[in-house]
């Protein structure tokens, strides 16, 4: 096995930043009390202050009021809360129609499917070959019964960034609520709720070198949303459960640590990787848009070979990446995102996702491209596909 291991799956999870851990530490060992009101004991008041400060930091990043942000256990819970909370609040009053895109991540997609089984009507909007939702199609899909539109800010696999302002304006004109899953864009791409007509936003700390198990939901003031998990009165009586104060503090610290310079560096590594792979390895297809994409995301299909074989070989070279191949997934289904953009099985099975983070370097990008070149050549030698075409090219 390889000595040095290079992690290039930062959309799945990220390495915690030491500074985040330092910020969290006191809330494990000193100020570990529940967040109480000012009428209880000192430790509780300190815990409350830490939670409020973390809430202020994250709200400011979105240009929101602190009262509009609740902490959750992560992006999955936030999206469940947005879809099911709005469905509970408006299903009987206004209507039962919800619109999502076909390439949403599983928390939104599977919440939508769960609501469909409960009698809600769902529209799964098609996207174009680069992953964009068509504003006209969206506009046509909204009816008087539509209670919520949920379209992600950027895609988890192919990195395509949607026109959130445009989509939000349509929703506003038509009088329906708009939720966006910003798990992969928060702090990477500006999202200002003062300018963007968005009502609900899913966030998570795990994509920005923060801790796992903490995230949040932005809820614009006045948005009808029901409490769907019962218990205590925490988080403005919207989300029951003991507050995860070290998590909240870590999330806020992680959000503070992301800089414009870091995002530029991610983008430079992304562009370098894409340019090199597409120009140096034949029979490759970029999945998603060349520029309207997450600064940290590379997703390329390698024709004639299968992704699990590529990832395993790369692992032996010391690189951790992800694939949209059916063989790799627990469900044995190819990537719904690649199918959603009109890709065939071979394109889904042969897709490799590289997602960059704070601790990656340009040298590592060059090294993974080098390893990919070798692995792809080896696997194509074994494959019965594409031999004639490749012979012609030689």
């Amino acid at each position: 096995m390889q000595e040095k291991r290079t992690y290039l799956d930062n959309a799945a999870a990220t390495r915690l930043d030491e500074r985040v851990m330092e910020a969290m530490k006191p809330y494990f060992f000193d100020t570990y009390a529940v967040a109480t009101s000012e009428f209880a004991y000192t430790q509780g008041i300190e815990a409350r202050e830490a939670l409020d400060a973390a809430r202020r930091t994250i709200s400011q990043t979105l240009n929101a009021n602190p009262e509009e942000f609740v902490f959750t256990s992560g992006g999955t819970e936030s999206s469940n809360m947005a879809l099911k909370g709005v469905a509970l609040a408006l299903g009987k009053k206004k209507g039962k129609h919800i619109i999502v895109s076909k390439i949403e991540d599983f928390p939104v997609l599977h919440s939508a499917e769960a609501l469909e089984r409960q009698g809600f009507q769902l529209t799964y909007l098609d996207v174009d070959h680069e992953g964009f939702v068509s504003p006209d199609r969206l506009s046509d899909a909204i009816t008087g019964e539509t209670i919520l539109v949920s379209i992600q800010h950027a895609n988890q696999e192919i990195g395509t960034i949607q026109d959130i302002a445009g989509i939000g304006n349509i929703c506003r004109e038509k009088g329906t609520l708009f939720h966006t899953d910003a798990t992969h864009t928060f702090t990477r791409i500006p999202l200002d709720v003062g300018k963007m007509p968005v009502d609900l936003i899913t966030l998570s700390a795990h994509t920005l070198h923060g801790p796992k198990g903490v995230g949040g939901l932005y809820i614009r003031k006045g948005t009808p949303i029901a409490k769907w998990m019962d218990g205590g009165f925490q988080e403005f009586d919207l989300r029951a459960g003991l507050e995860n104060i070290p998590g909240a503090v870590g999330f806020a610290k992680a959000a503070e640590l992301v800089t414009g310079g870091e995002n530029k560096h991610l983008q430079a590594m992304r562009d370098h990787a894409i340019d090199r792979i597409l120009s140096e390895i034949p029979d490759t297809t970029l999945n998603g848009h060349r520029r309207q994409r997450l600064p940290q995301n590379v997703n390329i299909s390698f024709h004639y070979i299968e992704g699990e074989s590529i990832t395993l070989h790369l692992d032996m070279h010391g690189f951790a990446v992800s694939t949209g191949s059916a063989c790799f997934s627990r469900s044995l289904q190819g990537s719904h995102v690649i199918y959603g953009i009109g890709g065939d099985h071979e394109r889904a099975h042969g897709s490799i996702r590289i997602t960059l983070g704070r601790y990656n370097t340009m040298e590592e990008v060059d090294a993974v491209v080098q390893a990919l070149t070798e692995v792809v050549r080896e696997l194509r030698n074994i494959s019965p596909l594409g031999k004639e075409k490749r012979k012609e090219e030689e």
Partner: protein, 211 residues
């Protein structure tokens, strides 16, 4: 650190044995397709006197278990008589590899089927098929079990997509319970045709969809 794959699987995956094509093969077969995510080609040379497999090569489009199984069956089959090689099971291949994950059974069973089909191909081409059994609905259904339903990764029969099978004057009609404009309809149709057409008394294959 423990992978779901045994060391032997990883070794065969890293350095597969007997990879490639035999240009003047005596028997050859392709099992699977890019649509179902895995594909194996098997080529054999047969000693006409002893009816033993004198050379065997394979090619694989697939995951690690597919590549490793392809590699191990070439080792298991080389030197065996056709009748012996036909009897090699998935279990034997899996045992020789130190065990394969159950979830990967459908990717790895293809190599076994590839070997059997290559032998069958040799026998058909060399007039060795003893009795030509007339094709029945059951035989067609059995072959349909080798066609994957890409929606679930399981076969068409097991996922209840085969609504009807009928045989009449050499025409095999298969009705699939999917709309004709379904994303996977063309791929499924192509695969069914590939599997049913080689039956000796089938003249044409008609695949119909329910809507």
């Amino acid at each position: 650190m423990k992978f779901p794959y045994s060391e032997t699987v990883l070794e065969h995956f890293r350095h597969p044995h007997n990879v490639g094509k035999i240009e003047d093969a005596d028997g050859k077969a392709i099992e699977g397709s890019p649509a179902c995510g895995d594909m194996v080609s098997v080529y054999i040379k047969v000693n006409p006197k002893t009816k033993t497999i004198s050379d065997i090569k394979f090619e694989s489009y697939g995951c690690a278990s597919n590549i490793a199984t392809g590699s191990i069956i070439t080792e298991l089959a080389r030197g065996k008589t056709l009748d012996e090689a036909k009897k090699i099971t998935w279990k034997e291949a899996s045992d020789a590899l130190g065990g394969l994950p159950k979830i990967k059974a459908h990717c790895s069973v293809l190599a076994i089927e590839g070997l059997r089909s290559a032998i069958q191909n040799y026998e058909e081409r060399h007039g060795l098929v003893k009795e030509k059994v007339p094709t029945t609905v059951d035989i067609v259904r059995k072959r349909l079990k080798k066609v994957m339903n890409p929606i679930s990764g399981l076969d068409l029969v097991r996922t209840n997509l085969v609504k009807d099978v009928a045989l009449k004057n050499g025409s095999a009609r298969v009705v699939i319970d999917l709309p004709a404009n379904h994303q996977f309809a063309p791929a499924i149709k192509e695969e069914i045709t590939e599997k049913i057409e080689p039956l000796w008394d089938v003249r044409e294959v008609v695949v119909e969809f329910t809507e």
